[in-house]
């Protein structure tokens, strides 16, 4: 039932008694409505995609931060354990072993002390002080090992202070890690 008359009128449609002609204007309007709807749908889709991407990025950042906290907590606990080991080696008069462990401890503290977690646990100056004390302890242990004579009294005092400071920070870091893992 279509009567094609060029491009001006593309057909006639019979509906009941009357007859309507679908003109370019109708098509144009319909096209416009469809375009608007399509555009709106695209915008909604874009908005949703953006939200999903943002959420994914946030989740990834949170996961990275969590992994970082867990790693840092493990690091400070390891450092703390190493400081205890040095004390044990000094007490057992293992001069060379104590000197090597003190060097390792000094290196681990130097590496850890510049991380954000370390700086959150205590100020940079306090880390510098601890690093300097550990260098002194290591030097003394090397000297004691070289001369095969060990006066551990002073060293045990210094090492105990380092151990207590590190233990306190390890506990603080652990608590902070747990809070980070289970935020309320």
């Amino acid at each position: 039932m279509y009567d094609f008359k060029g491009f001006a009128t593309i057909g006639h449609h019979t509906r009941g008694a009357g007859m309507e002609t679908i003109t370019d204007r109708h098509i144009g309007l319909a096209g416009l409505v469809i375009s608007f709807v399509g555009f709106a749908l695209t915008l909604i889709q874009l908005w949703r995609t953006k939200k999903v991407a943002e959420a994914a990025q946030l989740a990834a950042e949170k996961a990275i931060s969590h992994v970082f906290v867990v790693t840092s907590v493990a690091a400070i606990q390891q450092i703390c354990g190493l400081s205890k080991e040095v004390i044990m080696l000094v007490k057992s008069r293992n001069r060379k072993g104590a000197a090597s462990a003190a060097l390792e401890l000094s290196g681990q503290v130097s590496r850890f002390c510049n991380t954000p977690i370390a700086l959150a646990l205590q100020p940079r100056e306090a880390w510098s002080e601890m690093s300097a004390a550990l260098v002194t302890i290591h030097t003394q242990l090397e000297l004691f090992a070289d001369t095969n004579r060990l006066d551990s009294h002073d060293l045990i005092q210094k090492l105990s202070k380092v151990y207590i400071d590190l233990s306190s920070m390890a506990a603080k870091a652990e608590l902070s890690g747990a809070t980070n893992a289970n935020p309320k």
């Binding site: 002194t136 003394q140 070289d146 001369t147 006066d151 002073d154 045990i156 005092q157 105990s160």
Partner: protein, 129 residues
């Protein structure tokens, strides 16, 4: 062991210079040291945990403070008393004791009121042992 022959002259000269307050000793906790050009000389004293014998040790370090040679004199050995006196003198100077005593003497000599606010607490106080 007594002072090794290679060191005898140097140690005696160092002890003499220390007596004359010409050596800038530095205290690094237990160890007292002085740096002269590319060498570091250290001296320390203690009681050995194993033998319960008092000793005075001497160390020679390189430019990077890496120990290159050490020796020790134990109580009862020749040179021990001399080395102990040398260590005590070096330690007193590293801690600035003679200067502080001179400052106090000068203050007392003025016959005026002496003393001021006390120094802040040492953060190292309150050790667990």
């Amino acid at each position: 062991m007594p002072i090794p022959n290679d060191y005898k002259s140097v140690v005696h000269q160092l002890a003499e210079a220390t007596q004359e307050e010409r050596v800038k000793w530095k205290s690094d906790g237990h160890v007292i040291s002085v740096r002269v050009e590319d060498a570091t000389f250290s001296v320390w004293n203690g009681v050995d945990d194993d033998t319960d014998t008092e000793f005075v040790s001497f160390g020679l370090g390189d430019a990077r403070n890496k120990t290159v040679d050490t020796w020790a004199v134990d109580a009862g050995e020749r040179d021990f008393e001399m080395m102990k006196a040398f260590f005590k003198n070096a330690r007193r100077q590293a801690l600035g004791i003679p200067q502080r005593l001179r400052t106090l003497e000068a203050a007392l000599a003025t016959k005026g009121v002496i003393g001021g606010p006390t120094a802040p607490d040492d953060p190292d106080d309150g050790l667990p042992f």
